[in-house]
């Protein structure tokens, strides 16, 4: 199908974009890579009257590591830029981001789709949303009143719903701490599809022993969630090996709850969670 008519505006800079959004009101939308929005417009699931194109704002296309150990990702950085980033650009503690990109759609999607677009779109199974929750990212939003920072725990609010106001532009995603021993893995019906279930595990690993860690799950709730039960197992600690990882995976699966539908969905999901969390633990250690 073809999209409904709209008026096209090209933003000159980030501040200009937010000014335009505020002026144009509710029926305006930002377009970045367009890899979610154009598909929705082609199907008329979205019909904004105004599009504010931020795709040309090269100043929002960057990966910066700082002395504080944080990684700052400009909102317009594409999935493919992260996928092909060198160690120097990414910092050794963020290799998990690069490795995760192979799960995001396919190459021609990754060359256009952006980190900021993924996070603003807030799909419960999107890899970037899951990484943001697992690694405690902070979203930097620019609005008419200036900048504010929103922690991942407050940013995602439900199906395709984020804390961004309609006149706010997501400008940067900050990953505060290196996650040296971390991995994302998932199951999708076909390679490149959105995941049925996905997980990120980040281990606090010293001298072959686990001293805590984080476990986040995608596809099990309207937004990506942490698994406190699985994290409690990691917090008790122990040698990095099958025993601990199986216990951690079991806790994640048990807590993901009773079947959500009439079919065997719940059991199937629990089995996926168990296997995926275990694999992610093992991959995280092998980094």
């Amino acid at each position: 199908m073809k999209p409904a008519p709209f008026v096209y505006h090209r933003a000159r800079d980030a501040v200009g974009a937010t000014r335009l959004l505020a002026e144009l009101g509710d029926e305006s939308k930002v377009i970045a890579g367009g890899q979610s929005l154009v598909a929705m417009m082609n199907f008329r699931l979205a019909r904004p009257r105004h599009l504010v194109d931020v795709g040309g704002l090269r100043e929002l296309d960057y990966l910066r590591t700082g002395p504080d150990g944080a990684l700052r990702v400009g909102a317009l950085t594409t999935h493919h830029t992260v996928e092909t980033a060198s160690d120097e650009r990414l910092g050794s503690g963020f290799a998990v981001l690069r490795a995760a990109m192979e799960w995001v759609g396919h190459l021609p999607i990754r060359t256009r789709g952006t980190v900021g677009g993924s996070i603003a779109h807030a799909d419960a199974t999107a890899e970037w949303c899951l990484l943001a929750v697992a690694l405690d990212a902070e979203m930097v939003a620019l609005g008419p009143g200036g900048e504010r920072r929103i922690p991942a725990a407050d940013f995602f609010q439900g199906y395709y719903t984020s804390a961004l106001d309609p006149d706010e532009l997501l400008v940067e995603v900050v990953f505060p701490r290196p996650a040296r021993y971390a991995a994302l893995t998932e199951f999708a019906e076909r390679r490149g599809d959105f995941a049925t279930v996905s997980t990120v595990v980040a281990l606090d690993l010293r001298d072959g022993a686990v001293h805590g860690g984080r476990v986040a799950l995608g596809g099990v709730a309207p937004l990506p969630v942490r698994s406190p039960e699985a994290e409690a197992v990691l917090a008790r600690g122990g040698p990095a090996g099958p025993e601990l990882f199986t216990a951690c995976a079991g806790a994640a699966a048990a807590a993901a709850g009773p079947p959500d539908g009439v079919s065997g969905d719940g059991d199937y999901r629990a089995a996926l969670i168990r296997e995926l969390v275990r694999r992610a633990c093992e991959e995280a250690v092998s980094r």
Partner: protein, 165 residues
């Protein structure tokens, strides 16, 4: 539905296969429709219009992209290449010949998309392994060949290019 935005046209300039074109189009014109309907470059095909099939794959500044998931206006300032740019003086390119030799097409509907996907991918990764080629080929859909011959065509083309340099 009357509550739509005004249907204004907009003047844009597109750089396609090294030529500059001025187009007066509605902003909702996707790149693939601008190529096919306004520039009459019908080599680029269109299937699903939501990014799944890859029939519309073109190169945007050298990188493979879905022309159905871009508005033509977003492509202003970028260099676009379509399948029409591969052959020179009526002579098929090495990649196109490899597709012929390996029976990488049957009906041919998907072929322009696969060719541009492979062209962009090999430019970035000339040393791609067969496994990596399989992975990239999974980006697009083909209902005829079963993909094996497409993988072989791309792999063979890459190997020959490596030998030449």
């Amino acid at each position: 539905m009357t509550d739509t935005a005004p249907r204004e046209r907009q003047l844009i300039t597109l750089d396609v296969n090294g030529e500059r074109h001025e187009l007066l189009i509605e902003p909702r014109r996707t790149l693939v429709d601008a190529l096919r309907h306004d520039l009459l470059l019908t080599g680029t095909h269109v299937g699903c219009e939501h990014g799944i099939c890859g029939a519309c794959t073109v190169l945007v500044d050298g990188a493979p992209a879905r022309a159905c998931l871009m508005f033509a206006a977003q492509a202003e300032g970028a260099r676009i290449r379509t399948v029409e740019s591969l052959a020179e003086d009526g002579e098929l390119s090495d990649l196109q010949r490899a597709f012929t030799e390996h029976h990488g097409l049957q009906c041919g509907f998907c072929t322009p998309g696969f060719l541009m996907l492979a062209e962009g991918f090999l430019a970035e990764r000339p040393a791609a392994t067969k496994e990596e080629i399989r992975e990239v080929v999974a980006s697009n859909l083909c209902r005829c060949t079963g993909y094996q011959t497409i993988v072989e065509a791309i792999d063979d083309c890459a190997a020959r290019r490596r030998k030449e340099t």
